[in-house]
C-alpha cells in the first residue's frame, strides 16, 4: 500500500524572462528517501524553494498537497510549522553561537520571555545523541567541521519535529567518512518514519540510499522510478537527454603551439585549509584551440581557474605553470595579466564590473597602463579604444559613457570580454561566459570566442551547459571532486560520456 505524504502537481515558476519550472509533478511517499537528480539549472533548488515557502503561494502556479491537505505557504515558517524543513547547501548556522543556541534559534526554549538554559542545553544534548554527534551542546559552532555542522542542521530540523526533511546537496562539501555517517543517519531517520528528499549530484550515493528517483531537466519532470529499476547510466542519459536547441557558429580550428600548461595543480579551501578543492590537476592549452572544462557544481572549476589567475582564490596552492614552454610565476593578478593570462569571471556583477562606472572606464580597467604615460591617462585615447570595442563587440549602447549597471546581461558580458581582450592576452579563461544571457547574445559570444581562437589565443571555456561545450570546444576536460577525470576530443565526446566522467568518483590515492 502506498501512502503519499507530498504531491506537487503542475508547478510552474517564472522568473523575468525565464521559465525555471514548467508543469513539474513530484510525488513523495511517506517514509521513503526520494532523490531528485538533474543538471545545474534544471530547477531542483527552485522546486524545493517553492515547496518550503521561500517562494510563497501566489508567486507560482500549481498545487501542493501535503498530508492530504492543499497547502498555501506564505513563508518558510508556515512550512516548518507543518514539519517540512529544508537544509540548504550553504549551511545557515550562526557560527559564533553555541550548538544549542543554533538548534533552538527562532524556537527558543523560554518561559515568560526568559530563556531556560538548562532545558535548552539538555534538549540539545538529547538531539545530538540522536544524530550521533559526540560534542557538548555549549561549544560554538565555528569550532566544528562542515560534516558536524551538517549534523547540527539535522538536529535543528529534528527539534522542529520534522516529518519531511529536504537536503540540498548534503554531501557536496563532506569527505567520504562524514558522507557515510550522514547517509547512515538518514537511513535511521527513515526507519523512524521521517521522509527525506535529497538533491544530489553524486549518483553512487543516490543509488545507494534512495528508494525512488525523480529526474528534472530544463525545468520539467522527466520521470520518477524505483531505484531498483535504475542504473547510473540510465539516470545520466535522462539528465542530459535534451535536444540541441542552440545553434553554434561553424569553426575550423587552426591549432598551434602550447600556450599554457598547468602541472600537478592543487588548491585548498581558504576556509578549511586542509580540504583540497583541486587535486593534482594537469591541463594543456594550445594557441588557436578552444578547450572546455566541464564539471558539476562544487567540482572545483572556478577554484582551478581563479587560482591559476594570480592565486586570486584558495590557499596552500602547489603545482607549476608553464607559459609558452617556460615556467612562470603568477603570484598576483598583476603578474598573471603581465604573463598574458586573462580570466573573465562567472559572476560579472560581483567580480567583473564596476557597475556604477561607464563602459569606457570598465573596458580600460585591466589595461589602464596601456593608455597612460607617466601615470597620466589619455582620456581621449580611452574613449577611442572603448568606442572601437563598442563597434567590434556590438555592445548595444549609444555611447561608451553609459553606466554599465544599466546594460543587459549580454552587453555587460561583452564589456567584460572587451576589458580582457584589451589587455591583449595569449590565454583567456572564460568562466560561464553565457550565463544568464539570451540566446541571440549567446551566439554573438560564441562568435567572439571563435574569433579570439583564430587570432591565435588559447581559450579555456568553463561551462555548466554540456551542449555549449560540445558546440564550441575542440577538446574538453572533465573535472570531478577536484580531479581531472578525463580529456576528450570533441569528435569523441557526447553528453552521456562527459556526464559519466563528471560524476566519476576517484578513489583517494595515497600520496
Amino acid at each position: 500500500m502506498t501512502d503519499t505524504i507530498l504531491r506537487m502537481s503542475g508547478i510552474t515558476k517564472t522568473f523575468p524572462g525565464v521559465k525555471a519550472l514548467q508543469d513539474v509533478n513530484l510525488e513523495v511517499r511517506r517514509g521513503e528517501i526520494h532523490s531528485i537528480c538533474g543538471e545545474n539549472g534544471a530547477g531542483k533548488s527552485t522546486l524545493m524553494k517553492v515547496l518550503s515557502g521561500v517562494y510563497p503561494h501566489g508567486t507560482y502556479e500549481g498545487d501542493i498537497q501535503y498530508d492530504g491537505e492543499l497547502c498555501r505557504f506564505s513563508g518558510i515558517r508556515d512550512s516548518e510549522h507543518r514539519g517540512i524543513v529544508i537544509i540548504h547547501q550553504e549551511l545557515a548556522l550562526a557560527s559564533n553561537l553555541s550548538i544549542a543556541e543554533n538548534i533552538f534559534l527562532g524556537n527558543e526554549q523560554a518561559k515568560n520571555g526568559w530563556i531556560d538554559w538548562n532545558r535548552t542545553n539538555a534538549a540539545a544534548d538529547a538531539l545530538l545523541r540522536r544524530v550521533g554527534l559526540a560534542e557538548s551542546a555549549v561549544i560554538p559552532v565555528v569550532n566544528l567541521g562542515v560534516g558536524k555542522q551538517q549534523l547540527v542542521e539535522i538536529a535543528k530540523a529534528l527539534s522542529k519535529e520534522v516529518r519531511l526533511l529536504i537536503l540540498d546537496e548534503p554531501t557536496a562539501a563532506l569527505n567520504d567518512e562524514d558522507s557515510a555517517h550522514l547517509l547512515n543517519l538518514l537511513r535511521g531517520l527513515r526507519d523512524e518514519g521521517i521522509t527525506c528528499v535529497i538533491i544530489s549530484h553524486k549518483l553512487n550515493e543516490v543509488m545507494g540510499i534512495s528508494d525512488r528517483v525523480t529526474i528534472l531537466r530544463d525545468g520539467r519532470t522527466i520521470w520518477t522510478d524505483e531505484t531498483a529499476n535504475l542504473t547510473e547510466e540510465k539516470i545520466i542519459a535522462s539528465m542530459v537527454g535534451r535536444d540541441m536547441e542552440h545553434r553554434y557558429p561553424e569553426h575550423t580550428p587552426k591549432i598551434g603551439e602550447e600556450a599554457l600548461r598547468i602541472v600537478d595543480w592543487t588548491v585548498h579551501s581558504p576556509t578549511q585549509p586542509d580540504r583540497a578543492l583541486v587535486r593534482k590537476a594537469n591541463l594543456t592549452l594550445r594557441r588557436g584551440e578552444i578547450v572546455g572544462l566541464a564539471g558539476l557544481m562544487g567540482a572545483g572549476r572556478t577554484e582551478l581557474a581563479m587560482s591559476v589567475f594570480g592565486r586570486s582564490y584558495g590557499v596552500n596552492i602547489s603545482g607549476r605553470l608553464f607559459k609558452d614552454g617556460k615556467e612562470i610565476q603568477a603570484r598576483n593578478v598583476r603578474e598573471a595579466i603581465d604573463h598574458g593570462i586573462a580570466y573573465a569571471t562567472e559572476d560579472r556583477k560581483r567580480y567583473g564590473l564596476n557597475l556604477i562606472e561607464d563602459i569606457k572606464r570598465n573596458v580600460s580597467a585591466a589595461g589602464l597602463s596601456k593608455l597612460a604615460r607617466g601615470g597620466w591617462v589619455d582620456g581621449n585615447e580611452e574613449f577611442k579604444v572603448a568606442d572601437e570595442f563598442r563597434t567590434s563587440m556590438n555592445i548595444k549602447s549609444p555611447t561608451v559613457e553609459a553606466v554599465v549597471g544599466k546594460l543587459s546581461g549580454g552587453n555587460q558580458q561583452k564589456v567584460v570580454l572587451s576589458k580582457w581582450i584589451f589587455t591583449d592576452p595569449d590565454v583567456l579563461i572564460l568562466d560561464e561566459p553565457t550565463r544568464g544571457i539570451d540566446v541571440g547574445a549567446k551566439y554573438e559570444i560564441y562568435t567572439i570566442i571563435n574569433r579570439l581562437a583564430d587570432e591565435g589565443k588559447a581559450v579555456l571555456v568553463i561551462s555548466s551547459e554540456l551542449p555549449e561545450l560540445l558546440g564550441i570546444c575542440d577538446r574538453i576536460y572533465t573535472l570531478s571532486a577536484g580531479r581531472i577525470t578525463g580529456e576528450v576530443p570533441r569528435a569523441e565526446a557526447t553528453q552521456e560520456s562527459l556526464m559519466t566522467l563528471m560524476t566519476k568518483e576517484v578513489q583517494e590515492v595515497a600520496p
Binding site: F309, G310, S312, N332, V333, R334, A336, I337, Y343, T345, R350, Y351, G352, L353, N354, L355, I356, E357, R361, S364, A365, A366, L368, S369, A372, G375, W376, V377, G379, N380, F383, K384, D387, K396, S397, P398, T399, E401, A402, K406, S408, K419
Partner: protein, 413 residues
C-alpha cells in the same frame, strides 16, 4: 578644472525600447550641490544685508575654513575608496605640536621644520594605512583608535599648555596676504581701490580655466565624442569665470589674496587632475566601486588604500601647520571635531557612503556650504547650538537626497 562632461542624450534608449526621450541629461546630483551653495549664499547675503559678500568677510570665510577644506580633499579620496578617517582632527593637533617643538623650542629654520612636519604626517598616515590595508582592520576602528592615540601624542608633546609664537612666515601662511607687488588701481567711485597684482592673478586664472575647457572640448570633438551644446558650454565657462572674478575683486579691495587661498587653489587643481586623469586616481574609484572587480583587474588594492592614508596624513600636517600659524599657537585641543566637518563636507559634496563616487570639487563645494552657514549665522549673531542644529540638518538632508535619487534611478530601470 576641466569641464565635467554632461552627457547629451541622443535618444539614449536601447534599441527596441520606447523610453528615454530626447533631453539634456543634467547630472542632478552633481549640479545639485552647486545650486545648493548658490542658494545658501543668496539666503545669507540677503539675511545679512550684503555683509556676507563684503570684501573683508569673504576673506574671513576662506581663512577661517581653509584647513577644513584641505582636510576635505584628503577625506573625499578616502571615502571614494570606501573607507573613513576619524583621526584627522587629532593628527592636525599632533602635527601642529610637532612643528611647534621644532620651530619654537629647537629654533630650526622654518622650511626644514615644515618638511619634517609633512614627513611626520606621512608616517602617521602610513601607520594607519598599514592597519587598514595590510592588516585588514576596518578604517573606522583604526582611525577611532588614531583619534585617541594622536591626541595623546599631542598632549605628551605639549603638556597641558599651548606652544608659540611661530616664525613670521608660518603666521603669514595661516593668516597673511600676498604682498601687493604692483600697488593699487582705482576701480571707480563705487568700488574704490584694489590690489593690481591680485586682479592680474585672478584674470590669469580665469583665462587659464577657459583655455583648458576649450582644449578639452576640442579634444572631445576630435575624437567625435558627445559634447555640450555651445550655449551650455559657454555658460559653463562664463559662470565660474565671473564668480572667480567677483571673488578676486572683492578680496583685492580688502587687502590682497590670502596665501591659504593660493595654496588651496593649487591643491584643488592638483587633486582634481589626479582623480580625473591619473592612473592612481582611477584606481581609487575602481577600488571603491567594486573591490573584487578591481582586485581581479590587477589593481593593487592594498597599496592604493595604504597610499591614500599616507596622503591623508600629509594633508592633515598641512592643515596642522596652517591652523597653528593662524592661531600662532599649537594647543593640546587644536583640531577638535575637524574630522566631522571634513567628513560632512565630503558627503554634502556628493560622495557616496558605499564608496566609488565623489569629487574633489564636490567636497570643496560641500565645505563651502558649511563655511557659509557658519559664517552667515555668526554674522546674524546665532549661538553655537543653532549653528550645529542647521549643519546637522544640512548633512542629513544632503545624504537623504543622495539615497533618494539613487532609489529613484533604481526603480526607473
Amino acid at each position: 578644472m576641466t569641464a565635467a562632461p554632461v552627457q547629451v542624450g541622443k535618444g539614449v534608449a536601447a534599441p527596441g525600447r520606447d523610453r528615454a526621450p530626447r533631453k539634456v541629461n543634467f547630472d542632478l546630483k552633481q549640479s545639485g550641490i552647486y545650486i545648493a551653495l548658490a542658494l545658501v549664499v543668496v539666503l545669507f547675503a540677503v539675511l545679512t544685508g550684503g555683509d556676507l559678500l563684503g570684501p573683508q568677510n569673504l576673506s574671513n570665510i576662506i581663512v577661517q575654513f581653509s584647513y577644513i577644506l584641505v582636510l576635505a580633499i584628503g577625506m573625499v579620496l578616502i571615502i571614494i575608496a570606501g573607507h573613513i578617517d576619524l583621526s584627522v582632527g587629532s593628527v592636525v593637533a599632533a602635527t601642529g605640536a610637532f612643528a611647534a617643538v621644532m620651530m619654537v623650542d629647537w629654533g630650526l629654520p622654518w622650511p626644514l621644520a615644515v618638511v619634517a612636519t609633512l614627513i611626520f604626517g606621512a608616517v602617521i598616515g602610513a601607520w594607519q594605512g598599514y592597519w587598514v590595508a595590510y592588516f585588514g582592520i576596518p578604517a573606522f576602528i583604526v582611525t577611532l583608535a588614531g583619534m585617541l592615540l594622536f591626541r595623546a601624542v599631542t598632549m605628551w608633546i605639549l603638556g597641558n599648555e599651548g606652544k608659540g609664537p611661530f616664525p613670521d612666515e608660518i603666521r603669514t601662511l595661516g593668516n597673511g596676504f600676498i604682498p601687493g607687488f604692483l600697488g593699487n588701481i582705482g576701480l571707480g567711485e563705487a568700488l574704490g581701490g584694489a590690489d593690481l597684482f591680485s586682479i592680474i592673478l585672478g584674470v590669469a586664472v580665469v583665462v587659464g580655466m577657459a583655455i583648458v575647457q576649450v582644449r578639452a572640448r576640442a579634444g572631445r570633438i576630435r575624437y567625435s565624442q558627445a559634447v555640450d551644446p555651445m550655449w551650455l558650454f559657454a555658460l559653463k565657462v562664463a559662470v565660474p569665470a565671473l564668480l572667480v572674478l567677483f571673488f578676486v575683486v572683492q578680496l583685492a579691495r580688502f587687502r590682497n589674496l590670502p596665501w591659504v587661498l593660493v595654496l588651496l587653489a593649487v591643491l584643488v587643481v592638483g587633486y582634481t587632475l589626479v582623480t580625473n586623469r591619473a592612473v592612481f586616481g582611477r584606481q581609487i574609484y575602481a577600488v571603491g566601486g567594486n573591490l573584487q572587480a578591481a582586485t581581479l583587474s590587477g589593481v593593487k588594492v592594498k597599496s592604493v588604500v595604504f597610499w591614500l592614508f599616507v596622503n591623508m596624513g600629509v594633508l592633515s600636517a598641512v592643515a596642522g601647520i596652517i591652523f597653528a600659524g593662524r592661531l600662532n599657537l599649537a594647543g593640546p585641543t587644536a583640531g577638535n571635531a575637524f574630522e566631522l566637518d571634513a567628513i560632512a563636507a565630503a558627503f554634502i559634496g556628493g560622495a557616496a557612503v558605499q564608496g566609488g563616487v565623489g569629487k574633489v570639487v564636490g567636497a570643496i563645494t560641500g565645505g563651502m556650504i558649511m563655511a557659509v552657514i557658519n559664517n552667515g549665522m555668526s554674522l546674524l549673531g546665532a549661538e553655537p547650538k543653532e549653528v550645529m542644529l542647521v549643519k546637522g540638518g544640512v548633512l542629513l538632508a544632503a545624504v537623504a537626497f543622495d539615497v533618494w535619487s539613487k532609489r529613484r534611478t533604481a526603480t526607473a530601470k
